[in-house]
Subunit: 345 residues, 2 copies
DNA sequence: GTTAGCACTCACCTCTAGAGAGTGCTAATA
DNA sequence: TATTAGCACTCTCTAGAGGTGAGTGCTAAC
């Protein structure tokens, strides 16, 4: 079903007009506001066609048209023109990285704030997930007879450490042999794979020292080594209240209930994290309560390992072009900066 | 200015009626609903008196009365009856502590959620602030020639550790002497006191090794040792939307803007943290944007050291009695549990 | 001191009418 | 055949009018 150039032009104008005004767009508005060399009647006919084809909708008889889900999708995929960033936007984004990079979570949190400020929508940013990294090596430093320091390094350069209690009847020699064994066994595995089933397997092979292995793995699992609680930071939640389509408190309530649920947010961001930049429109979102929204997500990486996701959520009538540009730029800078700092030092 | 018993009774009924209904309360409502042995006309006179005294207000001529700020204050201080917890509430609260206590932040976060569920308002919970604890001892374990593990223990039982780089020209002996010195110097100081000015002082005394001292302190300061980012967890922000007094979107917007600002929240909780349980009503709150709200806060401790605050924010027409009971109970349990786990093991 | 009665006030609901924006359709036009 | 002008029609939105009900203040009687 190919649209004529003129239909595309009309569709584009209707959608971008609607994105600006949040009001149904009439044929006269288009005719008056843009010099297409066409009368409102002609545009009216085109709009009626576009409605038949499913790209536009009429909220009620003889109102103006608003874009349908299909219309937005077509707009995002084929019509929309990607803008450049303004100097002001570039400056804001740059400021994210003026932190000392020590505290990566601060950078992430700041990114969420900037993202919401620039877009005027709500931002979601998921901190780096160590689970996605791969185990590189484990080092052990005995501190005294009872305690040892375990240091884990991942291939993305994260270093995590933890003090563990040693079982009594273990010689230093044995300890190092076990660590050696674990290093061989775990090398290259992604962190979220290192779980109970693996413990069992290692038990089989190392049956005579299983107590220690199990204890070690348990400790590691429970500890912050494998489980940094990768929080999701929200920015600009109050921005939702500015959107005219959400002047109904009940709609807002539904959305806030979702935003409050960390598990919901993970689902949102996880679901979107396969591609590097993804636009999910309206009912394409899996969570029913927010199907009047659209979601734009992008992933950031260290080297070639994806480790986190950032996103913006707003009404389906979102300024896609602007948000895509900004989200893209921030993930790009984030990837670049993180890779510099962490990769293979 | 002593109120007669009857005035107190009327005032109490008006306020608790208003807390239930959110509608201005009329004299007939009181006369009909409660058997005071008085006619509505008499109650009307009493209410007029209470208005003159500043305890009640009239939104417009010939509407019912609503409590004033002063009225609420008097209610909370003198009239209100503290309820007991229902069995269901006790059960909910108990569930907070069914976590393995390892992850204290999870407990805190869960507490925020339960608090908002039980009260139907928004909860704020500040995680344990290590800054409030006192330095107890520093231990150092050289790992190799370049690195050492520093472990800090506080008097509240927190253990924090960090790997630091050692300057080259330092013998093991010197290292231990320095640690020894620092232990003497820092012992008993609260963590948030250990700052730049102290570094300078130590420099003076230890001028010949100042590089190392400064570097160590810097490292400690920047690291998670002294600065766990004590996040504030919110629960039930969407509950605000259920309150009839906030059906106006602009009011909601103002409140959300405050709730979004972590610095604002700290101010709120810090300001309230002198007393063990504090009720701040309406304009008593320092932040202008939320002066239509009331705040109930309480602190929790380890041993006798206050380390965190939890709170509930809701409309001034809040169910004070219920919230106070719940907040009090949760902080009590929290203090008890934390003290058991952390104190002097 | 308390109460009954009454006039009065104000918010809120519903109903109506008119304005405005926009459409669909038809007939005329290039 | 594609475009346009014109017109009747539809629907929302707003403002105003009128009625209702809850509540008050005041006065006079108990």
């Amino acid at each position: 079903m190919n649209l004529s150039e003129r239909k595309k032009e009309v569709l584009q104008l209707v959608i971008s007009e609607y994105i600006k005004s949040a009001e149904p767009v009439g044929s006269r508005t288009i005719a008056r506001r843009y010099d297409l060399g066409l009368s409102s009647a002609t545009i009216r006919n085109e709009m009626a066609d576009l409605e038949d084809l499913g790209y536009l909708e009429q909220p009620y008889t003889s109102s103006g048209r608003i874009p349908s889900q299909k219309g937005y999708r077509f707009y995002v995929d084929s019509l929309m023109q990607i803008r450049d960033l303004s100097a002001k936007e570039v400056a804001w984004i740059q400021k994210i990285f003026n932190f000392k990079l020590k505290e990566i979570d601060q950078v992430i949190q700041h990114a969420a704030k900037v993202l919401s400020t620039l877009t005027h929508y709500t931002s979601l940013v998921m901190g780096p997930q160590i689970e996605k990294s791969c185990f590189e090596k484990l080092q052990i430093y005995p501190l005294d007879h009872e305690k040892a320091l375990v240091v884990m390094v991942t291939d993305t350069g994260f270093v995590e450490n933890k003090i563990i209690e040693l079982p009594h009847m273990l010689t230093t020699d044995e300890l190092f042999r076990i660590v050696d064994y674990m290093n061989k066994k775990l090398s290259g595995l992604s962190i979220d794979k290192i779980t109970g089933s693996l413990v069992k397997e290692m038990k089989m092979e190392l049956i005579h020292k299983m107590d220690f292995i199990e204890q070690t793995i348990n400790l590691l699992e429970q500890s912050s080594l494998f489980h940094r609680d990768s929080r999701i930071y929200l920015g600009g939640t109050a921005n939702i209240l500015n959107q005219p389509e959400f002047k109904d408190i009940n709609k807002i309530k539904k959305i806030f209930n979702v935003l409050e649920e960390e598990t919901m947010l993970s689902r949102l961001l996880e679901g979107a994290s396969t591609e590097s930049l993804k636009v999910t429109i309206g009912e394409e979102i899996e969570i029913e309560e927010i199907q009047e929204c659209s979601l734009i997500t992008a992933t950031y990486s260290i080297g070639d390992k994806t480790i986190g996701t950032i996103g913006v959520i707003g009404p389906t009538r979102m300024d896609y072009s602007k948000v895509i540009t900004i989200v893209g730029h921030i993930t790009h800078k984030l990837t670049q900066t993180l890779s510099e700092v962490y990769k293979k030092d």
